[in-house]
């Protein structure tokens, strides 16, 4: 069955290129996010929000990381997520 994705449906996970770059502590598979908000409440840094514009493949407002720099990689978001949407990376000193 044809599935058209509305343009607002956010970040897809991409294999990161090597070398120096702005560090991204999280990967979020947005099209699997159901916008339940559990991670938003779980995040001690309050840096996760539900997308306000368009919906993803599943018809939900997916979560977004507002401030990568503030993320401590504590992974609490990942531990509460029912849809295993997150990959969490350690903040390596190099970055």
């Amino acid at each position: 069955m044809v599935v058209a994705v509305s343009p607002t449906s956010v970040e897809r996970p991409k294999a990161k290129p090597f070398g120096p770059q702005q560090f991204e502590p999280l990967e979020i598979v947005s099209d699997r996010c159901k916008g339940c908000g559990l991670c938003v409440d779980a995040c001690p840094k309050h840096i996760l929000v539900l997308g306000d514009s368009g919906v993803n493949e599943l018809g939900y407002h997916a979560v977004r990381l507002t401030d990568p720099a503030a993320c401590t990689s504590c992974a609490l978001c990942a531990r509460v997520c029912p849809d295993a949407v997150f990959t969490v990376y350690a903040r390596s000193k190099g970055a």
Partner: protein, 268 residues
């Protein structure tokens, strides 16, 4: 696949703190937003990874919202009629002594229609693990009362709230099972917060280890949420779980007969 999730390779140089377990299939689930089943599936998948159980596992899926467990946990699975998973698992276990066998059952499935099957699997001390997801409601059929539903809770079959006078009391089935010598381990966890999610994972690990060690029946009741059935947002549901549900269903290990900390039984 399998092996410790940490050690799994990635095309990426950054050290991974957490990632989706390899024993969770790469597809989105049919569960409602914020449904506890998703979290519990993830815990089971993490353990299958960490304990490298995938290749020897035979799972028994019950009838409830989790009926599709086999779509998310890539191990051999047999579907059971509603409530009969412990009987089905008995059949599997008896002819496959070397397999790792578990059932994944909801509270309507295990504590209502399946009461006789779980009680007697426990009485026989069958060597499999029961993952008992208690969300206090019949999720799949539209949020009717379960035997585990709290008093005064509104459901589609108790529109004015559950009344003891006509529907009785929430049933402490795991405590009842713990009376049976055939039950080697019985515990109750929860998914209300990251801490309890971690403790619940430890309970599941203990249960799995006891099974692998040849122990009798092991059961972990996991208090879970059904935001849709409860008519609450996922967040509110978690609050309710942490505040009210645990009042009726105390958390912790109920019996661990390999630690020989047994309650009163008919053994003697």
């Amino acid at each position: 696949m399998g092996g410790d999730a940490m050690s799994t390779l990635t095309a990426d140089t950054r050290r991974i703190i957490y990632q989706r377990p390899s024993m969770l299939t790469d597809r989105s689930s049919h569960y409602c937003p914020g449904c506890g089943h998703g979290i519990i599936h993830r815990l089971v998948a993490e353990l299958l990874d960490e304990m490298d159980l995938g290749p020897r596992t035979i799972g028994v899926a019950s009838v409830g919202c989790s009926v599709f467990a086999y779509d998310y946990l890539p191990v051999d699975f047999v579907e059971s009629p509603h409530g009969r998973a412990p009987a089905v698992a008995t059949g599997v276990r008896r002819v496959r002594p070397d397999a790792f066998v578990f059932t994944y059952q909801g509270d309507g499935d295990l504590a209502a229609i399946g009461t006789a099957e779980i009680v007697h699997a426990a009485a026989r001390g069958e060597r499999f693990s029961v993952i008992f997801v208690n969300n206090g409601i019949y999720g799949m059929t539209g949020g009717q009362m379960a035997p585990t539903t709290l008093l005064n809770q509104r459901t589609t079959s108790t529109p004015t709230g559950r009344e003891a006078s006509s529907t009785g009391y929430p049933i402490p089935i795991t405590e009842m099972l713990a009376l049976l010598p055939g039950v080697t381990y019985a515990a109750r966890g929860s998914i209300a917060d990251p801490a309890w999610i971690g403790r619940t994972k430890a309970m599941l690990r203990r249960a799995f280890e006891i099974q692998l060690g040849g122990g009798g029946l092991t059961i972990v009741e996991v208090l879970s949420t059904c935001p849709v059935g409860w008519g609450m947002t996922p967040a509110k549901a978690m609050e309710h779980l942490a505040r009210d549900v645990v009042e009726v269903y105390p958390l912790g290990v109920i019996v661990d007969r390999q630690k020989a900390a047994t309650p009163r039984t008919a053994e003697a």
